[in-house]
Symmetry: C2
């Protein structure tokens, strides 16, 4: 079984970086609870919207992002049993390429370079399972599409859901 796993907001906590940078720039501390069903650029004052939306295009946005809780050990579990690929739509943010690869080297060193994919549109990927936080990736995937919970997608009921990485046990029958 081939399992494709997204990076941002599935393994790497990009939402937290948005919140941290917004606080750094504007002195206001939003939390993930404020983002239920939406994204930060949608709830900030209109004059900040473009700036926030542009954060991922900054050189350092993807550098050393926090690791999503339990992702490391559970992905290693899956990796030991299945054919695991990490598939990130990194091409939208050219500065992210090196940071993402370095990040995998640091936190997921067991993911061989053969199992790393930086792409744009994920419709080109072939696999049995895709774990991703974005409906636009899950909707073009022909296998089992699992939505990894992230604040912005919490109101979406169209997909099988993984609330957090500990649920991988049950979803993939690891015990």
């Amino acid at each position: 079984m081939r399992i494709l796993i997204d990076m941002d907001d599935v393994l790497a906590d990009a939402v937290q970086r948005f919140l941290d940078w917004y606080e750094r720039d504007f002195g206001v501390k939003y939390t993930k609870d404020d983002l239920r069903g939406t994204k930060l650029h949608m709830i900030v004052p209109e004059e900040h919207r473009k700036i926030v939306h542009g954060y991922p295009h900054h050189k350092d946005f993807f550098q050393d992002l926090p690791v999503i809780e339990h992702s490391r050990e559970m992905v290693e579990e899956l990796h030991n049993r299945f054919e695991v690929y990490i598939a990130s739509a990194a091409m939208e943010f050219p500065f992210s390429l090196d940071h993402k690869n370095d990040w995998l080297n640091q936190y997921f060193p067991f993911i061989h370079w053969k199992r790393r994919i930086f792409c744009g549109d994920k419709s080109v990927l072939k696999g049995d399972v895709l774990i991703d936080d974005h409906d636009f990736n899950l909707s073009v995937f022909s296998g089992r599409a699992i939505m990894f919970s992230s604040p912005h997608n919490l109101l979406d009921t169209r997909y099988e859901r993984m609330e957090n990485w500990l649920e991988a046990d049950k979803i993939f029958d690891l015990k």
Copy 2:
């Protein structure tokens, strides 16, 4: 129809860089004709073999490679009619990521980021056609596998072959 196109030695002339660097380092000028059915590291004196084999791991190897003749105009033709993706096994050479993306920006700017894939093993890609110079990529592809001629593969008779980019006219019935 979705056409996946490899980069090295299909669009970008990596073989020429091997030859140029070898001449720079050892003062001996091999040509592509010397590489029929083999690769440079196989025909140089044994004490140079490891050095040559390691060239692609150098920081600058993939920077501003020469463009393979007629690739630009013919890929643009294909791009105008079909769903064209560029798929490079870039992950083996982490230094290549930025250089390859910059190279596409410079020489193939019409290839949108959504249509760019940097991967390892190409078995994970889904498409109707793959144009590639390596048998290990073509052999794991489930669609129409077209071998793009490069010195190292000239003795391989197992695949449909594209000798050069002008042949795309005939292969894809462009006229």
